[in-house]
């Protein structure tokens, strides 16, 4: 008794509504169940921007939100920027992309190759936590930045060594961004700050994207994404989102866009004997 014409991925636990009153309301299309896709009204689907990765777009029924707060929980450099590549390019238009306190230096060749005009990149570096959040809010509210990127693990309070000329951001073996040591504390974003950033983003029709540690706490954001690396791409989980249930195991294949960054499929007629050498060279195809 689904009222929508397209068949979504219905959850297996969908039971038909029993009470007669509820059935009647459903017939009159006055009930919406979260398992259904969003009603196809002009206002709502216009708010989603496709990420051009078909698996993700299907799972999210359209794409990523056009404005608001997005939280991406992942280890550094698993492919999060590559995932957002088309989204960033499409959202940018003639506005700026603000990058606040990036973990490393940016390489203009790479960003230009992704299709982003580097004249539109605004870098704000070496800021304390409150300055970073304030700059993010200013950029979002002004309406002149389409997207603002921020790394939560680099928000530090207290005198950082960088101010004294000594900081170096290093990633250690566990894959966490090494916080500049001693004297500076990292405080994750709390609920109030997240809400404030979301409101600022909506005021200026912009998106705020915050990169966080894996399994960080849930906040009031439009979309939470958790990334896991896979040989040929990523595996996404969506622990929380607006207007939809959480999702798990969305596989993104990067072989179309980034063929060099996928572990090549082993051809069927090759059998490995020992398999212990881990620093061998393999021919890429």
């Amino acid at each position: 008794m689904n009222k929508s014409t397209t068949t979504p991925k219905a959850r297996p636990a969908d039971k038909p509504l029993n009470a007669a009153l509820l059935q009647e309301l459903q017939q009159r299309q006055q009930i919406w169940r979260a398992s259904e896709p969003l009603p196809i009204a002009k206002g709502i689907t216009a708010e989603l921007e496709p990420s051009r990765y078909p698996e993700l777009d299907n799972a999210l029924n359209g794409g990523l939100p056009k404005q608001g707060l997005m939280l991406i929980n992942s280890l550094f450099a698993l492919g999060e920027i590559r995932l957002l590549q088309h989204y960033l390019r499409q959202r940018l238009q003639d506005r700026l992309l603000a990058i606040i306190a990036p973990p490393q230096q940016l390489s203009s060749d790479a960003w230009a190759a992704m299709g982003i005009n580097i004249d539109q990149l605004l870098l704000i570096s070496d800021t304390q936590r409150d300055e970073s959040l304030w700059s993010a809010e200013q950029c979002l509210q002004s309406g002149r930045c389409a997207v603002v990127l921020l790394w939560e693990e680099l928000l530090q309070e207290g005198k950082s060594l960088e101010r004294q000329g000594k900081k170096r951001v290093v990633t250690n073996r566990q894959g966490q961004i090494n916080r500049p040591a001693n004297r500076s504390i990292n405080k994750p974003i709390n609920m109030a700050e997240a809400k404030r950033l979301k409101l600022a983003a909506e005021a200026g029709s912009s998106t705020m994207i915050v990169f966080r540690k894996p399994h960080s706490a849930k906040l009031a954001a439009d979309l939470h994404i958790e990334l896991e690396a896979k040989p040929r791409g990523l595996c996404l989980h969506i622990p929380k989102r607006q207007r939809g249930w959480p999702l798990r195991n969305i596989h993104i294949d990067f072989s179309r866009d980034w063929p060099e960054l996928c572990v090549p499929k082993r051809p069927q007629n090759v059998i490995s004997l020992a398999g212990k050498r881990q620093t061998g060279k393999q021919q890429a195809h």
């Binding site: 550094f76 940016l106 704000i124 002149r144 896991e228 040989p231 060099e260």
Partner: protein
């Protein structure tokens, strides 16, 4: 009657009262501390005199003081004998000069031909203004409105010196250009004592010894006789008085640079309360700019501290701004971060850099409505964070990955060449600052993030793609760089950009985020 002279005999005192009144109003408006409000109310009710440093004579006295018997020209001792509770201030001719300048600026929109007659006078040429104001009464009304609540004597005459003489002797009259007016002018002139003529002391003594006490008698003497007994100065003066000789006058020109100084009555300890006294200065700046149709690009504020070096604040607006609110907002951002090592005594504001008003922003028609334009956003960010933390990327002219981009401080769209701010590897000095939009992208894959300093490889990785050799043979050993780049994946699934040197050392140089 072509000339009007305004003699401000109490300029410094009036200025003092005006400032005190402002302070008192402000304090009444807020819930002020008891001591300051008491102090100001005391000041207003006290008799004040201003003493000339050279002769220790009273040169300006307020009404209260005059009621108690103090006259101008008295010695200081005599004045104190009259009234013990006096507030005595030094005469400051420089301050009066500045005030005169400000008055001239104020009156300039009404009467274009002004001459500053320091220390306390303004000479206005009326005839050219009468048609614009449609009559002498209207003109005078406008001027009077501007000059409240100052005290001054005024007079008009056919020659500038006659007007000056009349005004300085306490006349407050405006005469019409009729035969009766002419007659009364002559009568007034006749009654002026010769001792108030601006001539040398010898001449004045000679005049009094000759028995010529009033101007009437002087004017009756034939010029030939005067020339025999007195020097040229007297002849010139008399000629100019009668309008037979022309006087060269330098008319007032409005200044290009806006400069204001504010002496605070109470020291300010807190940097946030500084915005209160600076706000009216910014409003004056706005008027100044709007009158000239200019926009300010930089405003310099200097804070003079007690027993300490003065602090300078520079506020910049990339695209020029004349509105006081915007400057106030930028000032507030800067003041939040400002620490005062000592209390502030004087504030001075100066604006030199301005430009013609440009066109309105094209973003008026863009879809995304926000509060600020791009330049205003950058101004706000710079005001709070400082210029050195805001950067734009620019493609660099080098195939070495470290130098393939540079950071620059200004947006590329507004300038062709930009400052070179690249982080140089000490080895290489490549990287010019041309506008490099035409450079082709490298064919190989590049990582989104590059490490500032390549680090040694410390974990086990699987190589998947490579090698790509990037080589830059330099003139000496240090500049040589020969690297074979590989793309590798580590245990957690992160993709790294490694390179191998000829010594077979492996380094991590970037991450494919």
């Amino acid at each position: 009657m072509r000339w009007l002279y305004l003699h401000f005999y109490q300029l410094q005192l009036d200025h003092l009262y005006r400032e005190e009144r402002l302070v008192a109003d402000e304090k009444e408006g807020q819930a002020a501390s008891k001591t300051t409000s008491q102090a100001t109310s005391q000041a207003l009710s006290q008799a004040t005199i201003i003493v000339d440093g050279q002769g220790n004579e009273v040169c300006q006295a307020c009404e209260l003081a005059q009621q108690q018997g103090i006259r101008l020209g008295m010695g200081l001792a005599a004045a104190i004998a009259m009234q013990a509770k006096l507030r005595v201030l030094d005469y400051r001719p420089l301050l009066e000069q500045e005030l005169l300048q400000q008055l001239a600026e104020q009156l300039y929109p009404i009467s274009a031909n002004l001459v500053l007659q320091a220390p306390q006078g303004l000479l206005l040429e009326i005839r050219s203004m009468l048609r614009y104001h449609q009559g002498l009464e209207n003109y005078w009304q406008h001027i009077q409105q501007q000059l409240q609540p100052l005290h001054y004597h005024y007079a008009n005459a056919h020659s500038p010196w006659a007007a000056q003489l009349l005004a300085r002797n306490g006349y407050q009259q405006l005469l019409a250009d009729t035969p009766e007016g002419q007659q009364s002018l002559e009568q007034s002139l006749a009654r002026i004592p010769c001792s108030s003529l601006p001539l040398k002391k010898n001449s004045l003594e000679r005049l009094s010894s000759l028995g010529i006490h009033h101007l009437e008698r002087l004017l009756k003497l034939p010029l030939k006789e005067i020339s025999r007994r007195f020097d040229e100065e007297m002849l010139l003066y008399l000629g100019r008085l009668n309008n037979e000789l022309k006087t060269p006058l330098a008319y007032y020109q409005p200044t290009e640079i806006f400069e204001r100084q504010l002496q605070l009555f109470y020291e300010i300890y807190d940097s946030e309360t500084l915005s209160k006294p600076i706000t009216p200065l910014l409003k004056q700046l706005q008027d100044f700019l709007q009158q000239r149709d200019l926009q300010a690009q930089q405003v310099d504020i200097q804070l003079q501290l007690r027993n300490s070096e003065s602090l300078k604040i520079e506020l910049r607006a990339i695209r020029g701004e004349e509105k006081a609110e915007r400057w106030q907002a930028l000032l507030k951002l800067r003041l939040e971060r400002l620490e005062l090592p000592a209390p502030v005594e004087t504030i001075s504001l100066r604006c030199e850099k301005h430009q013609q008003r440009g066109q309105e922003h094209a973003e008026l028609f863009s879809q995304h409505q926000g509060r600020l334009s791009q330049e205003q956003l950058l101004d706000s960010l710079q005001a709070r964070l400082g210029k050195e933390r805001i950067h734009f990327l620019q493609a660099g002219n080098s195939h070495i990955p470290e130098h393939s981009q540079q950071l620059c401080n200004n947006a590329n769209s507004s300038q062709g060449t930009s400052k070179d701010n690249s982080q140089n590897n000490p080895q290489d000095k490549k990287g010019s600052s041309k506008n490099n939009t035409n450079l082709p992208l490298p064919e190989g894959l590049r990582p989104s993030f590059l490490l500032k300093q390549p680090q040694q490889l410390q974990e086990e990785v699987l190589l998947f793609y490579g090698p790509e050799r990037i080589q830059n043979p330099g003139w000496n050993e240090k500049q040589n760089c020969e690297r074979d780049y590989f793309i590798a994946r580590n245990q957690e699934g992160r993709w790294l950009w490694l390179y191998k040197t000829p010594n077979k050392h492996w380094y991590v140089h970037g991450y494919f985020a």
